[in-house]
Symmetry: C2
């Protein structure tokens, strides 16, 4: 595109690489920034540039952290006897925002997905098993997404943890709050019936 300056072209290209952002959106975002103050655009760029600087995985829960042990694992108010296993840090954020769980986490950084070439070794499963074997944990809550890959990963983890004398649970599958039975798929309805609770 010789009709636009190189810097604009490059920004469009970079935005276009992001997931869910097509060419048109990339153009729109770039020109939105062009209409912003220099300092705002530079701060945005600097923030992205430094995003990964100093980041590592927490040695305990494997979540992103700036320290060897993250804020949650270091929090004396958290219940260290419960471990919630999640697929990725976004799920952890969602759970933290829900403000309902006060135990610790373990982030797998993905699920087993042969199609994408992701096996158990690419995930933080060994770390989970070692962590559990160290003792002190009474319950493990598997909070993986109810997808094929999530179920397969749960099954894989279960195989290793079943021999250990620990309570293993999974989060409930059912109709989401505000949801509509009319629009729920048959699998969800099936799980909702199977998991029905008594008043």
């Amino acid at each position: 595109m010789s009709f636009i300056p190189k810097s604009i072209e490059q920004a469009i290209e970079e935005f276009g690489k992001l997931p869910g952002i097509g060419m048109k959106s990339a153009e729109r975002l770039t020109f939105y920034l062009l209409g912003k103050k220099n300092e705002d655009v530079e701060r945005f760029g600097e923030t992205i540039k430094k995003l990964k600087t100093g980041l590592r995985y927490c040695e305990k829960c494997q979540n992103f952290s700036t320290e060897a042990i993250c804020g949650i694992c270091n929090d004396p108010k958290r219940d260290t006897s419960v471990l919630c296993v999640v697929e990725d840090p976004l799920d952890l954020i969602a759970l933290e925002k829900a403000n309902t769980y006060r135990g610790l986490y373990h982030v797998l950084h993905g699920v087993i997905s042969p199609v994408d070439g992701i096996g158990p070794d690419e995930l933080k499963i060994v770390e989970l098993i070692e962590r559990v074997k160290k003792g002190g944990i009474k319950e493990i809550i598997l909070a993986l997404n109810p997808s094929l890959e999530g179920e397969a990963t749960s099954a894989y983890i279960l195989r290793y943890l079943k021999p250990v004398d620990i309570k293993i649970t999974r989060i409930a599958r059912g109709i989401p709050m505000g949801g509509d039975l009319n629009y729920a798929d048959s699998q969800t309805l099936k799980k909702a019936f199977e998991g029905r609770g008594q008043y």
Copy 2:
């Protein structure tokens, strides 16, 4: 959000400021970048940081440019007797990609919109009129969007250019290619009939 590192939080915040990107998308984009190589993330940041560096408006067409006169205005192969007036650089890009127009452009950088506090003085209308008065232009094509604001801006420009002895045209409004009469609004159908051409 004390449970995530500051750099991640800031990136989510910055992404969230972009138009059409909500909190969830901002999180998803940030964690997408966290999964990318350091150098890729840094290049993205650097690109954004430098986006506006050295950019100015072309003295002739007012499009973004790194030089006083932009590539299009400087292109000896373009027809300097025709001027296409567009709202913003994105419209110019769309027209250039269509590869159908070989004249010059004039970018207004917006449309008259009293609701948003944008009057004629905020746009590059004075520059347009001065450019036309300098002579050499035989036709002006108004290619503003067929919105209320676009029409009002066209009307405003017309008032100043009518006295000048120049052919003034507008791009056709009608059914888009691949469109369906069934789904077209009545205004579009009206314009399509008014602008009908003979075989």
